[in-house]
Amino acid sequence: MADLDFETQLTRLYGQAPVFRDAELFSQQVTDKLDRGWALRRVLIGATGVVAGVAAAAQLVSSRFSTEFSQMSQEGSQQLGKLTQRYDQLFALGGGSETLWLAVGLAGLALAFAITRLMDEV
């Protein structure tokens, strides 16, 4: 020991971790913080999804889609066929009203998911 180089000895001493009685508590606190951060991140992602879904649905609803849809029903099946074809091309979906309800449904689903996730985490 007497021959040990002092700096090597010092480095070794620094390498020896002190013993803390609350070491387990410290680890738990870090783990809890990590979990909380992760949960918050997931909630934020969920909330962003909901906002995006709602915005998309609102865009659809506030667009001329609804008026055109009512016009379609008034002007008969001939025009309806044309317009449906147009929207079919636009959304690549089966029908006009289905698109709207699908968007609303998805937004509702996302909202429900976010709420359950939030309740789960909190």
């Binding site: 040990l4 010092l10 001493l13 803390f20 680890s27 783990t31």
Partner: protein
């Protein structure tokens, strides 16, 4: 998914698992190295509460950056470097860092005889005999394995100042711990060559 299994294995394996999103694996790393990080921060001069706060932050930052750790060195060293950096940032932000003072020849070191102090290797006690600057520089270089140049850059002080703080700190520690005063030129040269 095996989420309940207790994480075991080498630090590098646990780090790889943590990088893949396994928080339990990272929790095990915290369990293994938490005390070392807390100890280092206290040795750098942080009070216990600050040391624990910074240590927690260091692990959180470590988790965010875990993909950067590829096992080139010990995980303990890697996380200690993060902790030291965070601590320095904190003390600098709080303007509590005054390191450019000229060395006082105060703090007389009790140069006990080797026989009387042969068993007194309490580093933490010995560190109390160092000035704040000496303690910080010595602990950065020997506890966090920073080179003198790295310490100078992080502390924003001249390299020569760091070297003199380290030298005086070592002299005091050597006397305090009554270690053989054999030179340690090899290790010193290694650190200086980093710069």
């Amino acid at each position: 998914m095996g989420a309940e299994r207790p994480p075991t294995g080498h630090d590098v394996e646990l780090a790889a698992l943590a990088a893949a999103g396994d928080r339990r694996a990272f929790g095990e790393l915290v369990r293994r190295h938490g005390s070392a990080v807390r100890g280092l921060l206290r040795r750098l001069g942080a009070d216990p509460a600050t040391a624990d706060d910074v240590a927690q932050d260091a692990f959180l930052v470590g988790y965010e950056q875990i993909a950067d750790y590829r096992g080139e060195g010990a995980f303990a060293g890697w996380i200690k470097r993060i902790a030291a950096r965070l601590y320095l940032r904190k003390v600098k932000r709080e303007a509590r860092l005054v390191l450019t003072e000229t060395p006082e020849d105060d703090a007389p070191v009790a140069a006990d005889g080797p026989a009387a102090t042969a068993d007194r290797l309490d580093l933490d006690e010995a560190l109390k005999s160092l000035s704040k600057a000496e303690r910080l520089c010595v602990s950065l270089c020997y506890g966090a394995d920073w080179s003198h140049a790295e310490a100078a850059e992080a502390l924003n002080i001249p390299l020569g100042t760091v070297k003199s703080h380290v030298k005086r700190g070592l002299d005091k520690l050597r006397a305090r711990m009554a270690a053989p005063s054999g030179n340690a030129s090899n290790d010193s040269a290694r650190r200086e060559s980093h710069g």
